[in-house]
């Protein structure tokens, strides 16, 4: 990018040292950048620092000398690798299938692919056990099997289903952005079938695949709900962190364990960073094409359809059980219908409204913030860019428990006395999910040639106008996916907010856990079903309000 001296800038300002010159040229941009840095520092780094300062030397020593935790560390890495690989593969399958115009029922598959994200914690896992467990409705009653799903294999299956939507969201936008003319051109040059896929489509999807793997990997590393439910004797570090706090209130040890969990997360981050960067994936070059993607051949089409349909069936059954359970008298024993389970949900109706309100605020604020941060980091030059990039994806590597405890420690006293308010819950929801929007925006930006923006600048557009008129429309899909993802995830987030709720700000997911933990599966699933319905209703409302133009499910 050439630096021309803009109008209104004196020669003296232009020749000032680097940073001062930037501020003089673009005061608004510099202000926004400073604000982004300040917010990330306050709501991401400060709580982490407060938690990591908590354990003493004794706890770090205990961590490294206890054979149990070393073994658990091995388990954690193993399952994270397995689940990431399968979830990304499945996510890619769904994203690829739904990006092709001729795969039957693709709109339905798009909808079903986000179902696991809408599922509240614990209930989805239990539904899975009720369906496929030792006495599961499908495995035992239907097929007469009495297999044992508790262990690494059950966990692998549950995590794959739970996390593939994250990969799907990261990949769908990227695949849709691949210019179809490239595939047509390759076909004209003789590449067909798998060769075309391997040499053209797959390489173009690599930034998406890498960011999907990063996100899923970190989610798998810090997942505690699923290992708790179906891990059985196969224990992982995240569960141990959570139970150190919930069981004996050992904050120091929990903090040390989350510190240990940070190591592989950071390694993943570095890998992604150096593997993907240094390659060019620009496919939008301003020479637009609106051709439909390449149609698929018959066997491929039906293969994709069968695979998607199978997964969709499993997911539908899982969530059907939640809805059936909400109306059942005694979950698992007496399936006669009743409305009694909803009495409590209505009785404490405030929780559901709190969830919707807080999640909506977090979604709007979070997606705007993450897209803005991605834009600043990848299109502007300022000192500490790498650190901001790092901080924006760091929350995904942090166990929710650590965030929750860190927020109490950091925001309990003035000048930032936020505990007990709704603001702290919104902040926790928002900053926990920014990595998703941020990564999606980065992947989107990586495919947009800077020459388009430079063109706008050459035509006289100020930076803000370029952002608004050129860049933003082009990364709209990243913004949408961030919005939808943050809203859905915040509606169901639990491990962080459970430390932050107060009377008047209790959210539905906290109540669901409390009910589920005591085995009140009927009430828990009634509230869960209400929560899931609320998510769908709000999304539908958004879609209707935007005149059907907001593409919620075509991410």
């Amino acid at each position: 990018m050439k630096h021309r001296m803009p109008k209104g800038v004196t020669a003296r300002e232009w020749n000032a040292p680097h940073l001062a010159r930037r501020i003089a040229v673009d005061p608004l941009g510099s202000g926004v950048t400073a604000l982004v840095i300040l917010l990330l520092g306050l709501f991401v780094l400060l709580p982490v620092a407060r938690v990591l300062a908590q354990p003493g030397q004794a706890e770090w020593v205990r961590l490294l000398t206890t054979s149990r935790w070393l073994r658990l560390g091995g388990n954690t890495l193993l399952i994270a690798v397995l689940s990431t690989a399968s979830a990304v593969a499945l996510g890619f399958l769904f994203a690829y299938a739904t990006s092709r115009p001729d795969v039957p029922l693709r709109t339905l598959f798009k909808l079903i692919a986000i179902l696991p994200l809408v599922s509240p914690p614990f209930v989805g896992g239990l539904a899975f056990i009720l369906l496929f467990g030792r006495r599961g409705l499908v495995t035992y009653s239907l097929l007469g099997l009495s297999g044992d799903i508790y262990g690494w294999h059950g966990l692998w299956m549950v995590q794959t289903l739970a996390f593939f939507p994250i990969a799907y969201l990261a990949l769908a936008g990227v695949l849709r952005r691949i210019n179809p003319t490239l595939e047509f051109a390759a076909q004209d040059l003789g590449a067909r079938g798998f060769r075309l896929f391997r040499t053209v489509t797959l390489p173009l999807a690599i930034p998406g695949l890498a960011s999907a793997a990063l996100l899923v990997g970190i989610y798998a590393l810090s997942d505690f709900g699923n290992p708790m439910l179906v891990g059985g004797a196969f224990k992982v570090l995240a569960t141990e962190t959570y139970t150190q706090v919930t069981g004996w209130g050992d904050l120091g040890m929990a903090a040390a364990l989350s510190g240990a969990l940070l190591v592989p997360s950071l390694a993943l981050f570095m890998l992604q960073r150096y593997w993907v960067e240094g390659r060019s994936y620009v496919t939008i070059t301003g020479k637009g094409s609106f051709a439909d993607p390449l149609p698929t051949s018959g066997p491929v089409r039906w293969g994709l359809f069968t695979a998607c349909a199978l997964v969709a069936l499993v997911l539908l059954a899982t969530y059907a059980v939640v809805f059936v359970g909400a109306f059942a008298r005694t979950w698992g024993v007496n399936w006669r219908p009743t409305l009694a389970n909803f009495e409590y949900t209505v009785f404490r109706g405030g929780q559901l409204w709190n969830s919707i309100r807080f999640a909506a605020m977090a979604a709007v604020g979070g997606s705007a913030f993450s897209v803005l941060a991605a834009y600043l980091v990848h299109r502007k030059r300022f000192p500490g860019r790498g650190a901001v990039d790092f901080t924006a994806v760091l929350p995904a590597a942090l166990p929710g428990t650590l965030i929750g405890v860190g927020y109490i420690l950091a925001f309990n006293t003035p000048p930032l006395a936020l505990t007990g308010t709704g603001t702290i819950i919104v902040a926790a929801m928002l900053f926990r999910t920014i990595p998703v929007g941020y990564r999606a925006a980065v992947a989107g930006l990586a495919q947009i040639a800077p020459s388009i923006e430079e063109g706008a600048a050459d035509l006289g557009a100020r930076p803000l106008r370029t952002l608004w008129d050129v860049t933003l429309p082009l990364i709209r899909s990243a913004f949408t996916s961030a919005l939808v993802f943050t809203f859905i995830r915040s509606m169901n987030t639990l491990s962080a907010v459970i430390f932050l709720v107060s009377p008047g700000t209790v959210v539905a997911s906290a109540s669901i856990l409390a009910l589920a933990e005591h085995g009140d599966w009927g009430q828990a699933s009634a509230l869960a079903a209400s929560l899931m319905s609320a998510v769908f209703l709000v999304l539908l409302g958004f879609r209707l309000l935007s005149g059907g133009r907001m593409r919620l499910f075509e991410l």
Binding site: Y242, L251, N334, M361, V364, T419, P473, F542
Partner: protein, 340 residues
């Protein structure tokens, strides 16, 4: 051009909605400062209890339901500026650890005279409110299918029979008070050395240890496993919900006391004291017994539905001081010995 207009209008809609949501008035707060209770018993029971407190005394009480460790963590993290007044229903072991960290305020309620002396902290930091005993929960339906009319296990030693291999689930003491109460109960029953031998023998039949105390009963209720180590009230609750569970109390059974305490420098200490005086009375305790199936420490409160009377149980001599002093050592030893 079309693309630009679309995305703009759409942005305006979204931001407008977000603003509307954030400007929506928060639920109005009560005029007088409510009492803030951190409770570990069932959420619904707590809600009913707060309703009753407000009706009986005219003072409003709010609550949050948390697990025992979450209460300890939260109170510790909030120590500079506490947000809660009362901790309710929590195990004595956690109370002792919070007391040692200086997080509690001594409060000698006049009601303490009505609670037997061994269920009180002599320094006044906590007062017992309920008595919970342990037992073995068995899925009766599965038992009938797999073992027919054979007698169910009656003693702790019966559980060592190899035919129960992989059919038993137990809570892990590393993360659950139920699990810790169980293993020290074995030490109090047969002595520590023989207690470890017993636990090692039992481990051969255990499929795995669960992080939470209630999970084994839930899994047995659903028929996933046959036998669970449990607290009686968890099993009684599952039975009253209609699950086919048989509850067995072997001789030498472990027990614990749920207790109430005042948080140091809480925002409403006077209201907190008022709540403690009230909740130790007959009617609130009866409500807890009826809804939560925990045993009471009061003689004027009836038994939970389906519970075995205390005089028919053989409880171990639980030495609280010994358990508190040796907890870290026992947990480390357990963690090194058992891998499930």
């Amino acid at each position: 051009m079309l693309q630009r207009d679309r995305s703009r209008r759409w942005l305006v809609v979204v931001v407008g909605l977000g603003l509307a949501a954030s400007l929506w008035p928060a639920p109005a707060r009560a005029q007088t400062k409510p009492v803030m209770v951190y409770g570990v018993i069932h959420e619904y029971t707590l809600a009913r209890l707060m309703q009753k407190f407000e009706r009986d005394t005219g003072t409003k009480a709010d609550f949050i339901r948390l697990s025992a460790g979450e209460v300890a963590t939260r109170v510790l993290a909030e120590r500079q500026s506490p947000k809660g007044d009362v901790i309710f229903g929590i195990s004595r072991a956690i109370q002792e650890s919070m007391k040692a960290q200086g997080l509690l305020e001594a409060y000698k309620s006049p009601r303490r005279a009505e609670v037997p002396g061994k269920y009180l902290d002599p320094d006044g930091y906590w007062t017992g409110s309920s008595l919970t005993v342990q037992g073995i929960a068995i899925n009766a339906e599965r038992w009938k299918k797999e073992f027919g009319s054979a007698p169910m296990p009656k003693t702790w030693e019966d559980l060592l029979d190899p035919k129960y291999k992989d059919l038993i689930v137990a809570p892990s003491p590393l993360s659950s008070g139920t699990g810790f109460t169980f293993i020290v109960g074995q030490f109090f029953r047969v002595g520590e050395e023989k207690g470890w031998e017993y636990l090692k023998a039992l481990d051969r039949n255990i499929r795995f240890y669960t992080p939470s105390g209630i999970a084994p009963t839930r899994m047995v209720a659903a028929g996933e496993f046959l036998i669970a180590i449990t607290f009686a009230h968890d099993a009684l609750k599952a039975i009253s919900a209609g699950y086919p569970i048989a509850l067995v109390h072997p001789t030498g059974v472990s027990w614990d006391v749920g207790s109430v305490s005042l948080i140091k420098n809480g925002p409403n200490a006077a209201g907190g004291g008022k709540f403690i005086d009230w909740v130790l009375g007959r009617d609130p305790i009866q409500l807890i017994v009826d809804l939560n199936f925990e045993g009471s420490l009061r003689s004027d409160v009836s038994l939970p539905l389906g519970a075995t009377p205390l005089e028919k149980l053989d409880l171990v001599d639980y030495k609280l001081d010994w358990a508190a002093q040796n907890r870290q050592r026992i947990l480390k030893q357990w963690g090194d010995l058992f891998k499930k």
